[in-house]
C-alpha cells in the first residue's frame, strides 16, 4: 500500500530530515512510527499526505508515484488519506458535525449522503450526542475524536496520525488507540507516529523506528 524507496528529504534550510528511508506497508497493516522528537516522524507522514515532496527517492501509495501528481489530482489523492493531527486542527467557528462533514463537502458529496456518513462517523467515535456543539466546548479527548471522525468520514484507504494521543491522559489515549484498531479491522492501513512506548507493548503491530532521519528498525525490504 505504502512503499518508500531510498527516500530522502532535505528542507530548503539544508536540514536533512530523512535519509535513504525504505520500507513497505501492506494493505490493512497497523504500524507505529517511533523515534525521538526531530527524528523525522512528522516529515515521513507529510510525505505520505503529500504536504511535502521527497528530495530523492520514490514514494508510492496505492501504486501511485506521489511526485507525479499535480493540481486537482493532489486534492483527489488527499481524499483517499485520512489525517489526524496532534493539535486537532478543527474549525472553531463551525459545529462538530460541520467539521466532520468537511472532507465530504469538498468532495462534492450530496447533502443527504453527507448527513448519513457524518452521523455514522460521529456514532463510531461516540460523539453523536454532541454533533451540534462547537469544538471549543469539548474536552481535549473529545476534540481528538472529532478529528478522527473527520479523518474516517471520507472512507480513506490510509489513516495517518501524528501523535494523536500526545496531549491525552493514559486512559483517554487507550480509548483513542482502540478506535484506530477498530478502523484497521475494516482493512484500512493505519500508520501512527508516537513516542508513547506503552502502546507498542500492548498492541501487536509493525514498528518503524526512526533516529536522526534514518530507519533503525522496521521493514527495510524495498
Amino acid at each position: 500500500m505504502i512503499r518508500f524507496s531510498q527516500v530522502s528529504k532535505r528542507y530548503p534550510s539544508g536540514h536533512e530530515a530523512l535519509s535513504h528511508v525504505s520500507f513497505t506497508l501492506v494493505k490493512g497493516s497497523f504500524t507505529f512510527l517511533t523515534g525521538h522528537s526531530g527524528a523525522g516522524k512528522s516529515t515521513l507522514l507529510k510525505l505520505i499526505s503529500l504536504s511535502e515532496l521527497a528530495t530523492r527517492g520514490q514514494v508510492l501509495v496505492a501504486d501511485k508515484n506521489l511526485a507525479r501528481l499535480k493540481g486537482n489530482r493532489i486534492a483527489a489523492y488527499r481524499r483517499t488519506i485520512g489525517t489526524v493531527f496532534q493539535e486537532h486542527k478543527l474549525l472553531h467557528d463551525r459545529t462538530v458535525e460541520d467539521n466532520v462533514a468537511l472532507p465530504l463537502v469538498v468532495a462534492g458529496t450530496d447533502h443527504s449522503e453527507t448527513q448519513r456518513r457524518v452521523r455514522a462517523a460521529l456514532d463510531k467515535v461516540g460523539l453523536l450526542n454532541k454533533a451540534r456543539r462547537y469544538p471549543i466546548t469539548l474536552s481535549g479527548g473529545e476534540q481528538q475524536r472529532v478529528g478522527i471522525a473527520r479523518a474516517v468520514v471520507g472512507r480513506p484507504q490510509v489513516i495517518l496520525a501524528d501523535e494523536p494521543t500526545g496531549n491525552l491522559d493514559p486512559a483517554l489515549a487507550d480509548e483513542i488507540m482502540q478506535l484506530f484498531l477498530q478502523f484497521n479491522q475494516v482493512d484500512i492501513t493505519v500508520l501512527i507516529a508516537t513516542h508513547d512506548y506503552r502502546h507498542l507493548e500492548r498492541i501487536r503491530c509493525g514498528v518503524l523506528a526512526l533516529s536522526d532521519g534514518r530507519l533503525v528498525s522496521g521493514e527495510q525490504d524495498a
Partner: protein
Amino acid sequence: MPKQISVWLSRHLQVLFDTLGRLCKTPVTSVMTILVLAIAITLPMILYKIVDSLESVTANWIDNPRISLFLESGTDADNPDPVEFGQKLLQNPKIEDVQYISPEQGLAEFYNLDGFAEAIEALPSNPLPPLLIVVPATGRDNDATIILADELENMQGVDTAVYDQQWLNRLAAIVDLFQRGVLVLACLMGIGIVLVISNTVRLGIINRAAEIEIIDQVGGTHAFIRRPFLYAGALHCFFGALFAWGMTNMTLYLLASPVSRLASLYESDFMIGWISPGIALIVTAVAISLGLLASRFTVDRHLRKLKPG
C-alpha cells in the same frame, strides 16, 4: 434537472449565501469597502454622463455648421430682394439650405429676450439687417466652409458673412479634453477597484488561513478554496456598482436644475439626463470582472504557498 448541474448549482448558491452572510457579519467593514468602491466608480460615471450630454449637443452643432449672411440694409435699388437672393444661393451646389430671417422677425426674437424689450422700445427704428442663415453642404470640412463664407461675403448686397467656427472648435476641443479625462479617470477607477479588492481578499485570506490549510489537507481543490473569495470580490463590486449608480443619478439630479438654468441663459434646452440601465449594466459587469480578476490573482498568490515542496 440533471444531478450534476443541481449539485453544482447548490454548491454555488451555498457559497453565495455563505459569502453574503460573512459580509453581513461585519457590516461596518463591508459597507465602508463598498462605499470606497462606489465612490471610485461614481466619479468617472458622472463625468462620463456630462461629457456624453455635451457631446450630443456639440456634435449637432459641429456637424451642421451655419453661415450667418448679413445683407446690406435699406431699400437701395442695388440691393437684391433677400428672398430672391436666397433662392439664387440655393442653386450653388455647396449650399444645402437657406433660411431667411427678416429684420422684423429678428427684432421680435430680441424683444422676447430678458432686458431687451425696453431697449428696443427706445430705438427710433429697426437697426437689424436682413439675415440669411446658410446651411453649407460642406459638413465638417471646416476649410471649405471658410472659403464658402469668403465667397458669399464678396457677393453684391452682402454686408458680412459670419462663420463662427472658432468657438465651436474650442468647444469641441474642450469636449475632447473631458473625454480623455473620463478615460483616464475610468482607468484609475479600475486600478482602485483592483487594489481595494486585492486588499480585502488578502485580509480575508489571513482571517481564514487555518480554514484554508485544513481544507487543503482534507482534499479541497484550489477551485474550492478560491470560490468564496471570488464571490466576495464579485459581491463587493456588485454592491459598489449598485451604490455608484444610485449616487451618480442622485448627483445628476442635484445638478439638473442649475444646469437647465444655465442652459436657458444660453438659449439651449441642454439637459444632462440620467445614467441609463444599459450603461449601469456595463459598468457593473466591468466592476465585477475586475473584482473577480483581483481576487483570483490574490488567492492564487496564496495558493502557491500550499503546493507540496
